[in-house]
Point group: C3
Chain length 176, copies 3
């Protein structure tokens, strides 16, 4: 009788902690807590796709801010570091929007693997890391430790449509 | 007797449709239909190799046009978008040439995963996607849906030997 | 009796050649032979990590020279090809330092897969391969055939802190 009730207690605890543990990692809830919402995914502007999955790796195309209204200009001349940080953060939201469209649920993100942050910068610009932090900070806010990634933040001669920031990303995802 | 002949018919159909189905995906036949032929693979210009396979992924080095005669110049100043498109298409043929040398048969290409298209561009250039379409369009013409890839098309300050376009590629391949 | 002694001889030979074979691939011994030592791994300058492993692949962040004292300047104007070669070689040492910190033993490197060599270059610079050879040559000196990688060597508009070279790397590693 004692043993049976122990089992019941254990099963009840498991039933309670299982969902609670899962709830501990809920990137979409985190987005809501941050007061953020995902934009509509961007349609590729040419003959390519937003993402390709191979095994558990999801390769995301180079993204800019989603939507028709986006920042333009060269960082270090037309765009300040602070504004470019905002553009990088919006670009991260656009990447998350593609992830959501591909995965259905952002909890399937096991790890952000690689972020390649490209800044449309003047030849003398030197603060690329502070710009791309706009993306990295958001990824860590939303995914926690799983959002911590290997990164490069570098200066491009020019970018499509004169956007200030473009970001490529590789994500390790739950294959189920 | 009737059942036995049914089995024979089925086996005959399978024997016929098996190769026919395989023939439905024949990138090298597509190349011939397009009137294209693969150039001789380029020898790496320095201490590296053209491709490295790890698991089912084949990482291709940054490629330019194959051969001794290639376009040079900066896009947006010396080279028009239309000419650069042609250079990107020739670069794609050079990538396919490396793929053929590595795989023996282009039917082993399961999916083009990532294309990183680099344009040697002026600081004000903004039409990188139209240039790299020269590569993307060819990949889709040759591989169909399997040729559709995640892509970035961006502007570099300069490229080796002043070429207008350099392209890196990752391909998922049949491991057999 | 004769058969038994044969077995003893074989086992002895195996016991001797096993470690010897392993000793044949010892990148850290190679480093010592070359008179090189690994610098202290760099702390990431922003909200990211030096390396992320997924399966057998280790993705290394964009690295520069390790340490407080590093070269600065634009290649083709402030920095010669020969000096930039040295910076690329030091950057390779910094990448190896991260590898050592991640793996514990450089013998776990099965293959260097991809090197993405970025040169902070003038718009007219054209010798990127000679610069990034500073990294590639060291990788081949240290890892032999396993150090031979797919590579791109390209010109950036600018790099963080005005460094002349930044290098990203992907390595296939022993999972044990």
């Amino acid at each position: 009788m004692y043993r049976a009730s122990s089992i019941v207690v254990c099963l009840t605890l498991l039933a309670l902690t299982g969902p609670l543990a899962a709830q501990g990692y809920d990137p979409e809830a985190r987005l809501r807590e941050l007061g953020l919402w995902l934009p509509k995914p961007a349609a590729p502007v040419a003959n390519y796709v937003n993402a390709v999955r191979v095994g558990s790796l999801l390769y995301l195309a180079g993204h800019s801010e989603c939507g028709e209204h986006f920042m333009t200009g060269k960082v270090g001349r037309d765009v300040t570091v602070d504004s470019a940080y905002v553009s990088a953060r919006r670009t991260a939201l656009c990447l998350l929007s593609t992830l959501k469209a591909e995965l259905g649920d952002l909890r399937k993100v096991r790890r952000v693997v690689r972020v390649f942050g490209m800044v449309n910068a003047t030849p003398e610009f030197a603060d690329h890391p502070r710009v791309i932090n706009g993306c990295s900070d958001l990824l860590v806010q939303v995914f926690g430790e799983r959002g911590r990634h290997a990164r490069a933040a570098v200066g491009m001669a020019s970018l499509p449509s004169n956007i200030p920031v473009e970001i490529e990303m590789i994500v390790d995802v739950d294959e189920r």
